[in-house]
Symmetry: C2
Subunit: 294 residues, 2 copies
């Protein structure tokens, strides 16, 4: 039984806590959050502002902080021998982060799983499996419909925007459209806000529609999904067709996968690993006991 703490208590942190609490081989031993306050949903689980103030030292910490902060939290934990998992989701920077955390992990004799959400994460593992199944070909990943956290945050950072939600809509074969719902500050110039969105690097490459609303609660929905397809060649034979689709609650699936990756970390030699470097069996408590998997 491994003692696990959750760092950060947004939607994903909450889901990760629930997943750990339901796991037969992990025990939720603490929350790490700025306020240092516990949650009524988890009576008896201690909380503190830093891992070193928790009443018991965790074996592992699931980092549910924004991607840009993940490294600053993970590196010192790993150097202290505490295993980590994060949901780092900036695709282009993931190998660099892995290499840096690999150094920290080896220093502390711990293991880190980097980018353990659903994309990067679960989808990455499936893309790797399909690439092995058909080495020549093209894979298309279509996201949504669903809220994009990164795009929503980019719009909220525009001066004059009170609140915003950005929806990702699949336009087929890797292309996406965006729908941005904005609650403007009173007196804000709507034309200027629209222009600011359309010229933002997050949006300038995609067809984007901007809509003004009074309250984002009316459009918020944590449902999301993906359609991942590969058309390829196996052993020289073409017309191999693969498709993976899911419709899921975004924070719940993310938290569940982070918890599964936490379990896998304890089965690894010291170092940092990406999600496709985990064997699927390592994500399960005891896969030989589950009939029907193999």
């Amino acid at each position: 039984m491994k003692n696990i703490a959750i760092l950060g208590l947004g939607n994903v942190g909450l889901a990760a806590a629930r997943a750990v609490q339901k796991a037969p081989d992990m025990r939720l031993c603490g929350f790490i959050r700025r306020s240092g306050e516990g949650l009524s949903e988890f009576p008896g689980v201690s909380a503190a502002a830093s891992v070193f103030e928790l009443s018991e030292k965790p074996d592992g910490v699931i980092i549910c902080a924004p991607s840009r902060l993940a490294e600053s939290f993970a590196a010192p934990l790993l150097e202290q021998g505490i295993f980590t998992v994060d949901g780092f989701d900036i695709h282009g920077e993931i190998f660099g982060l892995k290499k840096r955390l690999d150094v920290s992990a080896n220093k502390g004799g711990a293991a880190a799983i980097v980018g353990a959400g659903w994309d990067p994460g679960l989808d990455s593992a499936i893309r790797a499996l399909l690439l092995a199944a058909a080495p020549e070909g093209v894979t298309y990943t279509d996201f949504g419909p669903g809220m994009s956290m990164g795009h929503s945050a980019a719009v909220r950072a525009i001066p004059g925007v009170k609140d915003a939600v950005s929806m990702t809509l699949p336009a087929g074969f890797g292309a996406h459209r965006r729908e941005v719902y904005i609650v403007p500050e009173s007196g804000a110039d709507k034309k200027a806000l629209e222009h600011a969105v359309l010229s933002d690097p997050y949006f300038e490459h995609d067809e984007t529609a901007v809509r003004f609303i009074e309250n984002t609660d009316s459009v918020k929905n944590t449902g999301h999904g993906v359609s991942l397809r590969r058309f390829g060649v196996s052993a020289g034979t073409g017309n191999e067709n693969f498709s993976f689709e899911m419709r899921i609650d975004n924070p719940s699936l993310t938290g569940q996968l982070l918890a599964a990756a936490m379990r896998a970390a304890f089965r690894k030699a010291p170092g940092a690993y990406l999600f496709p470097e985990i064997a699927p069996a390592e994500l399960l408590p005891d896969f030989e006991r589950v009939s029907g998997v193999v």
Copy 2:
């Protein structure tokens, strides 16, 4: 560069040979088959009736023999330090085979991948991933339409049957129907043949239609497929929906996956492993070099 030999040269063996020949990190170094004869498609690749008669000792052997014979071929190779992969496909016996080959593999300091086709194999890895993503729920695997090798062989073994093909038809949510096409021996009693099929353990649990034809060539097609669905719960939240589908050429996909598993074997510590115990990245020559996977 690893030297790989193929044992058995049916449809799957041929596909595995083609997959190895296209791989950047493996070299096709020999065929092991009763006749000891090479193939014009692979000039310069030696052939022999046993591995010990090949002109060079392989680092690994891909066993493309019937499931019931896989162990008798794999065990002595592993004990000699030669890595093996097989496509053993009897679900209920796979853990037992793994445990026995684990002993042989550890004796020889080699690794074996057991059950490395597409089901068991690829599908097993995906079922394990989806179980990690939604620990509560039900997974349904629907096969076909496609020819079943095992069912076809069972029909051909019935006295009075000259040739036969058995099609697997998905009836939804894990249930299947069968269509059996029989070329009878001249003078055979068709009613008796039909009765023999319907009372065979391979067929008695499924709705089965028996049809008599003159030549199985008219119905043979190596295309096959699967629809694998999971409906489950992630971190306490229900309505998580996952679907994996493929339409593929059966021997080509099987041969390609066996070759990928062969590569993975060389990355493992001595022992025997099932396909879900391989990390997806281990199936690829160098997954960090392929953009878009992670």
